[in-house]
Symmetry: C2
Subunit: 316 residues, 2 copies
């Protein structure tokens, strides 16, 4: 198959490209590199089955030749307002790639009679009032809040993807991706695992915004990519949660990271500096992914963190 | 002022144009006429202070000369899946005008250093779990449901409008418009008041989908337009509900319409035919509009219905 991957130079996108090439597909990456990086795909450069186009998918794109599958991953994804690569610093680009970008990606799929997989997000659930989140939960999102540039763009992306399926008969898939981590995350991404790894490897105390009792569930990127690939091979059209249901508090995570990196500097709680809209809990219910795709994460947090620490140590 | 009104040939848009011209503004209407009609603005044609451009605002538009204000009203707005003019029959156009259209309208405003008013909707609250709806309520919307083509498009429109205000400093206004009725509604619009008026004026029984206990709050169009104009003159950037808080059941409405039209045919309850996603209750809390704009509806339901009945009688 010839597969177009928007955002293929990003963290998840680049791992996905590796998997697709391993599965003997041809891959075309479209990425504007505002949060992605050529470093992530440098090891793929020069292969005959791999092509890179520097382009913003929010603007019209024409792909010559046949396209069998479009995978739309392009988007800033870090909620950290202090990172230059967080969506709060890239609000208009984030809104555009979610709406105009998804519209263009669907247009490419339709023109080529290709299928499309949308990389959506657990952020469509917002600050959830149900826990864990099932796909049937409608979410709790402030349409005009600071995080709406990402959350509403992705909710719109889901709506237009379902509309292309329902009304144009396009074969579509929607993955709701929960927190994912692994090698090639930006060091300055601003999300908690890169922050903790950078701090611990520098021997600094790990900074926690809030009381540390907020929980997250972290999925190792290889597991996530496996879920995306299985979803792609399925006939499922409704959204499917992909994430690791093992919940951990941010404080526990910090202690684990310090343990694995043998960082003696401890943790630092910044009680009053919780980001606005930061959800208290976020945990996927992956019953549907198990039932429909036969998928569940295989790599536990310590294993995944060790691989990620290796990569961060090399890059720091 | 020179004011661009997208959707100005629609029901609310055309009444708004009349008011703006009355207030001595110059008006340019952009409308693709897929749900609007030239009949609605025929009485304005030929005026020097009024211009019409047939164009889909979902595609890029360049407006020569100065623009002081952009009012983005363009969108299909009827939820009736049986009407050819309901958004369920126009899903992709509805998604596009909410996202790409709003993006283009914001682009025009930014290029001209103009302000922008977004016509949003009570549908951003979805099937609400709080009653009445205050602007602070985040809503209850299924992102992949049949109504998401309208609801999520408008939520996205709000998000990108706030983003242009926050990050580009654009002077913006967001009106959340609740059910509005009056002369010039399409006879085949599919919403309840046009349906009831057509049936009653034909001497037919009024069809109610469901048990008739679902409630609505209906605002007469002149009141609504007055609210939009007051919002336009204000400095308010956060969403403001505009609607009539007087709640009435659909059954009560039917009895009132039959009384006013002296229709002896009664009502017909179709218990099992309630449209999916049809909210049980919808009522605006207009405290903010009262406080900030000094606005509240002046025209009661019987008065408004009489004016609307006159117009429908003439057109039928």
């Amino acid at each position: 198959m010839r597969i177009l991957v928007t955002g293929g130079a990003g963290f998840i996108g680049s791992h996905l490209c590796g998997r697709l090439l391993h599965e003997k597909h041809d891959v075309i990456v479209v990425d504007n590199l505002i949060t992605g990086s050529l470093d992530n795909i440098a090891h793929l450069a020069g292969r005959e089955d791999f092509h890179f186009i520097k382009h913003d998918v929010s603007n019209f794109i024409y792909i010559p030749g046949k396209v069998d599958i479009v995978m739309h991953l392009a988007s800033p994804a870090s909620p950290n307002p202090n990172s230059p690569f967080g969506y709060p610093q890239l609000p208009i680009q984030t809104l555009k790639v979610g709406a105009l970008g998804t519209h263009n990606a669907l247009g490419v799929a339709r023109a080529h009679n290709a299928s499309l997989l949308l990389a959506s997000t657990s952020e469509v659930y917002g600050d959830p009032k149900e826990h864990p989140q099932q796909e049937s939960y409608w979410g709790h999102v402030d349409p005009v809040g600071l995080r709406s540039v990402y959350d509403e763009a992705k909710r719109f992306a889901e709506a237009i993807t379902m509309a292309y399926h329902r009304y144009h008969g396009l074969q579509t898939h929607i993955a709701r991706i929960f927190n994912t981590y692994g090698p090639r995350m930006r060091l300055d991404d601003g999300r908690v695992i890169p922050n903790f790894l950078c701090q611990s490897l520098r021997g600094e105390p790990l900074t926690i915004y809030g009381d540390g009792n907020q929980t997250r569930s972290f999925c190792y990127v290889d597991d996530l990519v496996d879920g995306l690939y299985k979803l792609l091979l399925s006939e499922e059209r409704e959204p499917v949660n992909l994430g690791n249901p093992n919940e951990i508090s941010i404080q526990q995570l910090a202690l684990t990271v310090n343990h694995l990196t043998q960082n003696p500097a401890g943790i630092q709680l910044l009680h009053d500096q919780r980001a606005p809209g930061d959800p208290q809990q976020r945990q996927p219910d992956i019953t549907r992914a198990k039932d429909i795709l036969g998928w569940e994460p295989q790599i536990d947090l310590e294993q995944g963190l060790m691989k990620t620490i290796e990569d961060f140590r090399r890059r720091l």
